[in-house]
Symmetry: D2
C-alpha cells in the first residue's frame, strides 16, 4: 500500500485532565498513549480529536478523510451532538472502519449502529486473562493464545449486543466474570471491531498485546475499496442507495 | 397455552383511505385484511392502531400488553413520533416480538433496531416466486417449497440490513431481481421477522401462504418467557440492565 | 402437546462400570442420573442405550422414533461403528434434535456434523461459573444469570467449532480459562445444542441448573414439524433431497 | 506481498476429454481456461491436477505448499480417495483456502467440511443474473452490482448448507429459481468460498466477472498468516490442537 491509512481517534479527554489518578497513568491522554504507539508505524497517519473541540473536533473534511475511527468516551456520551453521531454512523455505513474502545460500548455511534442496549455488568479492577478464540483472524495476528492484563476494570456478560459476526477474544476476570471482549460486525460497507480493555485509570494502553490488537484492527477495518454507486438494471423507478 | 397471544398491528392507513387503487384492494385497510384472517385463530387477540390516532395509537398500556407487534408504514415514516419509535425499540429489546411488513423496512423502529440504511431497489409490479430456504424453520411450517404471488411490488438486493440470523425466504421477481424476503434477527430479548410482500395496491394480504407466514411469525416471535432481572454476583458496583 | 417427546440417550457407560471414582458418583451410570431426572417430566419418554449393546443399541426403529438424541462418550469414540455415526448424522439432517454432552465434542456424529477439529484445552477439576449470555433463549428459561458448579473438568478455548448460530452460555474456570459452554447449530432440518458440563467423576448431572438446561434443550431441539418432500417446480430434471 | 500465492486447481477432467460438447467449450479443460486467466497475474502461481493422476495428483508436498485450492468435480466424486479428502479437510482446518466450484458442492472435501447434505435443485441451462448482495466484500471488488450469464446450469434453493458466514452473491434463473451462489465459511483456520457458476458445457469460465470473482476469492482465502502452536497456560494436562 503506497498511501497511508488515515486513522482518527476521538477521545473524551476529560478525566485525564481533571482526575489525578487518570492524569498520572495517561499524562498525554489516552490518545497520546495510543498515538505514540501508532506513530512508529509509517503506514499509519494518526489524528486525535477531543470533546472540548468544536463539534468534538469533527469537521466534514476530517470525517470524509478518515479510513478508521477509534472512539473512546466514558461519562459524557450524551454531550456528543446527535449530528456528529449521525454523521459517524453514516460514514461507517459508507465504508469507514470503526473501533470503539472500552466504555465506548455506550457511545452514541456504537449504540446507533448496534440498535441494542449495549449494556453489561461492570466492577472494580481485576486481573484479566484475554483468550484468543479465533486465532486465524487478522486481528489476532502475532497475538498469543492468551495474555494477562494485571489490572483492568471488569466488564461482564450478558453484553447487550447483536450476535457478532465473529468473536475474536473472550476475557476472563478473576472474581468470576467472562466477557466477549473482541467482537466484529459488518454494518453496511463498514467494518466494526469493539474491544473491551482500556479503562483510563488502568495502564491497558501500554500493554503491547492490547496495542498490537488495536493496530491489527486498523488494518482489518480500513475499507478494502470504494464501493461504486449502483448501476440501474431496469432503467426505471429503481431507488439507489 | 391458555392465554391468548396479544397481537397489535400498526397500519399507516392513509393510502387505503385516499388512493382509489388501494381502497379497492383493501376496503377495510391492510389491518382489516390481516385482522380478518387472524380473527379465525382463537389463540390470537388482535388490535389495530393507525397513524391518525393520537400518538399513532400507542398508549403505554397497549405497548406493555403487546406480545407481538406487526408494523406497516409507507410514505409517512417520518411522522411517527420519535418517542413512539424509541418506546417500540425498547419494548422489542425487552422481549416483544416485532414483525415489520413490506415498506416498514424504512420505518423508524426497524431502522433503529438494525442500525443500517435498510435500503433496497424497488420497481413496478412483477410476478414473484417465493422460495423457502430454511424449510424446517417454524415460520415455514405448512408453507410449500415455493409459491407464486402473481403481482407484487418488486424489492431487490442489495438490501441494507445486518447479516440476518436466518434467511427463511428468498424472493424471485420476473424481471431479474432477487430479495431476502423473510429474515430473522434477535435483538436484546426480542425476536424480529422482516417479511417483504404486501404493497397496498396488490392483494398480497389475501394470499393464504403470505397470511400463514405472518401467523407463523406471530407464534415464533412471541416472547418465550419473561427474562427476570439480573442477580448480583459480586454484591457491589454491578450495573443492572 | 399430546404426544410425548421421545428422548434417547447414548451413554458409553464403561467408566461408571470399571472406574471406582465414577462408579461412586454415578452408581446407575450417567444415563441413570439424567434418566431419573427426566422421568419426573410426563411429557418426556426416555430410553437409554450403551456402547456394549449390539450396534451401540441403535436399531433403525429406535433411531427413526427418536425426537431428540443425547450423546455422552469419552474414551471410546472410535469404537462407535461408522454406520451408526452416519445414520445419526442423517437423522439429524432430517430433523432429529441432537444434544452432545461434555466429552461428546469428539464423538463421531458431532465431528461429522461440524466438519472441524472440535478440539479444546482441558485440565483437572476446577470451580466453574456458568454465565447466561443469551438470557431470552428457550434453553435459558428458568436458569439464573449465573450459577456455580463446584467441581468440573476444565474445558478451555479455543474450541475448534464453526461459528455457532447462538452462544447461550459461557463458562469461567477458576484457574483462568473460558469456554463457549452452550452453543447451538442448525444443520439441515435438525437442531444441535452442545453443552459442556458433565465429566463422569464430577457430580454435574445432579446439579439442578445443568439438568434444567438439558431438559430445556430437549424442548428446543425436538423437531417442530416434519418437513415434507419437495415439490417439483419445473416438472423435469430436478433433484429432490 | 513478495511471495506468490500458490494456487492449485483440482479438475476431474473427464467430460472435457470424453464429451464432445464439453470438449468444444473447454478444449484445454476447465483448469486450462481458469489457468490461462490466472497466468496473467504475476502474483499467482498456478498448478493443476486431475483425477486420472495417481492420488488425483495430490502429493503431500503439493498439498502442504498450496495456499488456495480450487476444486471442480462432477460425476466422479466417489472416486476421489477418502485419504485425499481427509487430507484436504485437515489442510483447510490448518489454514489453506478452499474454493469449491459449481458441482463441487457434492465433492467429498466440501461435504466433510460442511457436515450437511449440500444438495440443491438443478435443471437445464438457463439465463442467470448474478446479484452482489455484499458489495463491500473483498470478493466483490470490481464486480458490478449485477451481471448476466447467458447460459448456465440452473442451481436452486433450498441449498443444504449450514448458515453461511456471509452471502456475497445470490443468483436468479429465468425459469423461477434463486440460489445463494457465492457464500463464505470459516472452518478452523481456513477460509472457504463456494461459487456456483461453471457447468462444463457452458462457457462460464470465460466470463470476465466470474473469473474476477475467482481471482478475488484467491486473495481473500489465502491464509493471512501461520497460526502458531498453542502455548501452555497451566503447565499440565492441556491438550494442544
Amino acid at each position: 500500500m503506497s498511501e497511508k491509512i488515515r486513522v482518527t481517534m476521538y477521545n473524551e479527554y476529560l478525566e485525564e485532565l481533571h482526575d489525578a489518578n487518570c492524569a498520572k497513568v495517561y499524562p498525554k491522554g489516552l490518545h497520546g498513549a495510543i498515538g505514540d504507539y501508532l506513530a512508529k508505524n509509517p503506514e499509519i497517519e494518526f489524528t486525535a480529536v477531543t470533546m472540548e473541540m468544536p463539534n468534538c473536533g469533527f469537521t466534514d473534511e476530517l470525517l470524509n478523510n478518515t479510513d478508521v475511527l477509534l472512539w473512546w468516551g466514558h461519562g459524557h456520551h450524551g454531550e456528543v451532538p446527535d449530528e456528529v453521531a449521525n454523521k459517524v454512523q453514516r460514514r461507517v455505513l459508507n465504508g469507514m472502519g470503526f473501533v470503539p474502545l472500552h466504555s465506548a460500548h455506550m457511545s452514541k455511534p456504537f449504540m446507533r449502529l448496534m440498535g441494542t442496549s449495549c449494556r453489561l455488568h461492570w466492577c472494580d479492577d481485576e486481573k484479566e486473562v484475554m483468550w484468543t478464540v479465533t486465532p486465524s483472524h487478522p486481528i489476532a495476528k502475532d497475538v498469543p493464545e492468551y495474555f494477562v492484563i494485571d489490572s483492568e476494570e471488569m466488564y461482564g456478560e450478558p453484553f447487550g449486543i447483536p450476535n457478532p459476526d465473529e468473536v475474536v477474544f473472550i476475557g476472563w476476570f478473576n472474581h468470576g466474570s467472562v466477557f466477549r471482549s473482541g467482537v466484529t460486525f459488518r454494518r453496511g460497507n463498514g467494518k466494526i471491531f469493539y474491544f473491551q480493555p482500556g479503562h483510563n485509570s488502568n495502564p491497558g494502553y501500554y500493554n503491547p498485546h492490547v496495542l498490537k490488537i488495536i493496530e491489527n484492527a486498523i488494518y482489518w477495518a480500513k475499507p478494502d475499496f470504494i464501493v461504486p454507486n449502483r448501476e440501474d438494471y431496469f432503467g426505471k423507478d429503481v431507488i439507489k442507495i
